[in-house]
């Protein structure tokens, strides 16, 4: 695939809307044009566990929400009017009858390629890939993955994996080619398809998996969050269970960029954000992954770390964040960026706070407190 630098422009100075998906429902934060004043609205779907809420950038007004409750099976709600009204999917993601597999929840939603309006992809727990061609109303399995005879070898059993269930996440559609896709799986690793999901190849060379006996396994890794640079789609980054990595295609070997993080902070975390116009600018939010994996901010002092040079060096950014005794962390889909200049960086915490920076991480302020545990944050 040719290495091209895509045109990427900053968005005009309009209000920013952030979808805040929580363990107890969906809220929305909306700014003024200066991103100074913010209004919190909600909840919608009170009591539902919302794993992901995503706006379709192709029309700017269609929203999909992946929901379940403690009692009821998983479903998808969709809106075509920016969230004023909602309809439930007529056929939510579900494995094929007779397969023995059950979708516990839909974890990840990705709008399809601009050339394929109405197409969406969903990743589930346990690992399954689903596609809708009608704006999220009905979903079918991508059988090249779900029925792949290698799937169990790649992912392990449906009961294996992370504490909240093994997951498919980070479904990335190449902006130059709708048939070229990447997926991330915890556990399983990163996989690539060049034919719209009919066939998949593992893409994990160079990535550690120190929880597997084999020294350099082909798959079975635990990527937490995989992103590509919008302005350079052949540049991939991942925050992994075992470090932070960069991959420049057509190479198939990831480079360890987490080793340059301060030893006292470490290279474990969940979310990762790439600047929409600068492929060398990335942010991670480290957490304590030592001993029993406390999954808190390291030493109770949260910070984001920014690299401006593709991960060769990192700089701590914590101005405005709590200086001590703040033990929250941030889930993999709960840190995001807007497209304004300078870029706005947003993250939502496990303690129900939304923090924002309108100067690319130099200073932060808290936009909302006392919300339920935040699962995802997306700019709409």
């Amino acid at each position: 695939m040719p290495r091209t630098r895509a045109a990427a422009q900053s968005a005009p100075a309009r209000r920013v809307r952030v979808l805040v998906a929580t363990r107890k429902g969906l809220w929305t934060l909306t700014s003024d044009a200066a991103r100074n004043g913010w209004k919190l609205a909600g909840p919608q779907f009170l009591g539902h566990i919302i794993h992901h809420a995503v706006c379709d950038p192709r029309d700017g007004k269609s929203l999909l929400v992946a929901a379940r409750t403690g009692h009821l099976g998983p479903t998808i709600f969709r809106s075509t009017d920016s969230g004023r009204t909602w309809k439930e999917a007529t056929r939510p993601p579900a494995f094929v009858e007779g397969s023995g597999r059950i979708v516990d929840h839909t974890f990840w939603l990705t709008p399809g390629h601009p050339a394929e309006p109405g197409v969406w992809y969903a990743g589930t727990s346990p690992q399954g890939l689903f596609r809708s061609a009608d704006g999220g109303a009905s979903w079918g399995g991508v059988q090249g993955f779900n029925a792949n005879p290698q799937r169990k070898a790649w992912c392990g059993g449906d009961q294996d994996g992370t504490p909240d269930g093994p997951k498919m996440h980070s479904i990335l559609i190449d902006p130059r080619d709708p048939a070229h896709m990447y997926i991330g799986m915890s556990s399983g690793g990163v996989f690539e398809s060049g034919d719209a999901g009919a066939n998949w190849q593992p893409l994990n060379k160079g990535v550690r998996a120190d929880f597997i006996p084999a020294p350099s396994p082909e798959f079975g890794h635990d990527p937490h969050c995989v992103r590509y640079a919008e302005s350079l789609p052949d540049r991939l980054y991942q925050q992994n269970h075992c470090g932070i990595y960069r991959l420049d295609r057509p190479s198939d070997t990831w480079q360890d960029i987490g080793a340059a993080m301060p030893k006292s902070v470490g290279h474990v975390g969940f979310p990762l954000v790439v600047h929409p116009r600068d492929p060398d600018s990335i942010w991670v939010l480290p957490m304590d992954g030592t001993s029993v994996w406390p999954r808190t901010s390291p030493a109770g002092r949260p910070a984001v770390y920014r690299s401006r040079d593709g991960g060769r060096t990192w700089k701590r950014q914590d101005r405005g964040l709590p200086r001590t005794q703040a033990w929250w962390t941030v889930r993999r889909q709960a840190m995001t960026a807007d497209r304004r200049e300078p870029m706005g960086l947003y993250f939502g915490t496990t303690s129900g706070e939304v923090w924002a920076s309108r100067d690319e991480g130099r200073t932060f302020r808290c936009l909302a407190r006392h919300l339920p545990l935040i699962q995802s944050l997306e700019v709409a």
Partner: protein, 105 residues
């Protein structure tokens, strides 16, 4: 309320709906009519849930998974008797009660 009216012979089954599912039905109790295939064969629990889904689309998948099993935190009582077998028979005099057990905080 009768969810599906049929001119054919039908068994009407009353179903009690727990609060998490009332966004579908708008009521805490509904009645569904299930066509009678043979007088000696009353409808099954699965048939009741299928008829419920015709009347209230989407409700069945919230309580039965894609492999045809009741979801873990759902309980069904037929005539006051607990069952997890969707092949159990339901006679017209029996009420089906769906219970969403409390789960998690």
């Amino acid at each position: 309320m009768t969810a599906s009216a049929s001119r054919e012979a039908a068994t009407v089954v009353h179903v009690r709906i727990p609060s998490p599912l009332r966004s579908y039905t708008g009521a805490d109790e509904v009645a569904v009519a299930i066509p009678v295939l043979a007088p000696e064969l009353p409808p099954t629990v699965g048939g009741v849930l299928a008829a419920l889904d015709v009347a209230y689309p989407g409700i069945r998948f919230r309580i039965v998974d894609e492999q045809g099993r009741l979801r873990r935190h759902i309980k069904l009582f037929v005539g006051g008797r607990l069952t997890r077998d969707l092949a159990d028979r339901v006679d017209a005099a029996s009420e089906v009660m769906i219970v969403a057990a409390l789960s998690g905080g």
